[in-house]
Symmetry: C2
């Protein structure tokens, strides 16, 4: 049951980088930005950029490119980033704090309205403007706040238990930064952010470069 399977997932993953470039073009005062330019900037093929952008419904102009303001609007609307979404961070450690303070999120409509932690020394403190509550207050606070999105940054040993509590509290989407494969009901979304996968890729690239370099030595 690969529930909520995203169509064009690779394209969706690239859209944020196009959005960033469009915003930079806007700041720069440009009226248009071409797919060719975006591709060059991101080391992609122009055709890929055009294909990706087509899913947002934006229409470009031959010879000019895509109109910057409508392009930003089209991407934000397609990703639902033009509507505010409230979230809580569960696990107010370094990772939770880092995510809370990430300026990009608010720009994308994601507001972190509270944090939770098991460590009493953190209660009453703040993670980037948001109060930190004891983790056993999750259920009541989530209910009061009416939040349905949670960012999970607890130690992996607690991940499943906390996730279960979150679901029981009404959370419908979990952005999971632990390496635990969470078991949740079918109607709850989980987006896994697996650092180990990224490190595996880095490791393989290093391996490939080593192989290429010893080849060159021939």
């Amino acid at each position: 049951m690969p529930k909520f399977k995203v169509s064009y997932a690779p394209s969706v993953r690239r859209l944020p980088s196009y959005l960033l470039l469009a915003k930079q073009a806007l700041d720069h005062g440009d009226e248009y930005i071409s797919g060719t330019l975006i591709a060059m900037e991101l080391n992609l093929e122009p055709i890929q950029v055009r294909k990706d952008l087509s899913i947002t419904g934006i229409a470009g102009k031959p010879k000019r490119g895509y109109p910057v303001v409508p392009l930003i609007g089209a991407i934000e609307s397609y990703l639902n980033w033009d509507k505010r979404v409230d979230a809580v961070v569960v696990g107010a450690g370094n990772l939770g704090s880092a995510l809370s303070g990430f300026p990009g999120f608010k720009q994308h409509g994601l507001y972190i309205v509270a944090g939770f932690d098991a460590d009493p020394s953190k209660f009453g403190g703040l993670i980037h403007d948001s109060p930190v509550y004891p983790i056993d207050q999750v259920a009541e606070r989530v209910a009061v706040l009416g939040v349905t999105v949670a960012i999970l940054t607890v130690p992996s040993a607690y991940a499943q238990d906390v996730a279960t509590t979150l679901v029981a509290s009404g959370i419908k989407a979990i952005w999971n930064f632990t390496n635990i494969k969470l078991k949740v009901p079918d109607d709850v979304i989980v987006q896994n952010e697996d650092l180990s996968s990224g490190y595996a890729m880095l490791s393989m690239k290093r391996r490939i470069r080593s192989a290429m370099m010893s080849e060159d030595a021939d």
Copy 2:
């Protein structure tokens, strides 16, 4: 120039989760773990798990599965995780600290031996056992330490400048947690970890669920 293109990238990204399950099986005292079980645990197809594992060269036994100890060895060896790699963290903020403390890294052979920051109040401090130095000492320290891998967690405004310095200092691989597309020489590896991509995926999944739910209402 998509340099250092990883073959079987999707498989490589899944290997760490197989490794984790294999280690859990080992702790549990199991001698074998089947692809069928791994697939169930991770919501994958058994055939996909078998295909993925085949790239590591591990040989399974019909009716039993894969021998746990050799399986762990095969994955670790394939990913080069059986050899120690030293790295520095540049940007000793919350994200840098979180990554330094991530227990999984040391298990995968990644040792963070130093941190760097622009904030004088952090100099002489520690991020999880490793000393924090002024960022303008990067060049000399990296040279002395002989490190070739850097984890980049500075604010995006400084990302390119810092990356340029890192490259000049002898860094050959950058694990980039900023949303800036770094410009580096051809022989330098960059692995981008883009949080916005993950959030785009979460947003789309929420969008799809909404669509499905309003459909159900018909």
